[in-house]
Amino acid sequence: MIDTIFLILSLFALAGAIGMITLSNTMHSALSFLVTVFAIAGLYALLNASFLFMVQIIIYAGAIIALLLFIVMFLNIKEDKLKEPNRYNIMLVVAIILAPVDYLLFQAFLKMPHIGDFSTTLDNFGDVKMLGNELFKGWLVPFEAISVLLLVALIGSIVLARKKERE
């Protein structure tokens, strides 16, 4: 049952990703990426990361893709202005270059030490309580640094997108 769900979710993720880089309309491309984001959220749920499943849906699908779609609609791009005549050739060349690298990565992960059974974990592994305990005991300084980073990004995006006054 889990194998079937994994197969369907990974097919959706790959199809959405391929659609994202091949479709010419920006809007269709962003909607295709949304499919990938939801499929990856499902994969997190399969991997016992229930909190990350919610965070993926809220942050990626709810905030990032929604903001992206808003900006795309706001700018109202005419896609016929943007000709990309040889993009499939470049993709083919990049795929041929990346294939041996991917094979080496795959072999490297196959050689990893076998720790235990992948299919069984603790009962409450990955839920909010366990993640919060770990986050606020061992990762407190990175957590505070991330909050400062978010504040800097908030102020910076307002400063960058503001209209300059004519003097």
Partner: protein, 106 residues
């Protein structure tokens, strides 16, 4: 039949990362480039969460959460930069955004 094992998740993440690199290099539309970067971050997140389950430790999931926070702040900065540059150039083609590039004849 493909089973949901450790190496299947890793293979899926490697494939998604490669698709992200392909989109990053081959496209001219800056929105597609942005989404390709996000796809690569998502692929790395899958590897982190898979390794977290593999080793039975929560550290991978915490790093994945921090990558998501960095992706969110990157989204805000990147999209406001796109809006600012679109006001100047009226284009989303990255070939028009080469103002900072060093010219051949200095």
């Amino acid at each position: 039949m493909i089973e949901a094992s450790f190496i299947s998740y890793i293979s899926l993440a490697i494939l998604l990362f490669s698709i992200g690199i392909m989109g990053l290099i081959s496209r001219k539309n800056i929105f597609i480039i942005y989404m390709s970067i996000e796809l690569m971050l998502n692929a790395i997140n899958i590897i982190f969460v898979t390794l977290s389950k593999y080793f039975g430790s929560m550290d991978g999931q915490i790093i994945a959460m921090m990558v998501m926070a960095i992706a969110a702040s990157e989204a805000a900065i990147f999209l406001s930069l796109i809006v600012a540059m679109y006001r100047l150039k009226h284009s989303v083609n990255i070939d028009d955004f080469n103002t900072l590039k060093q010219k051949d004849t200095l």
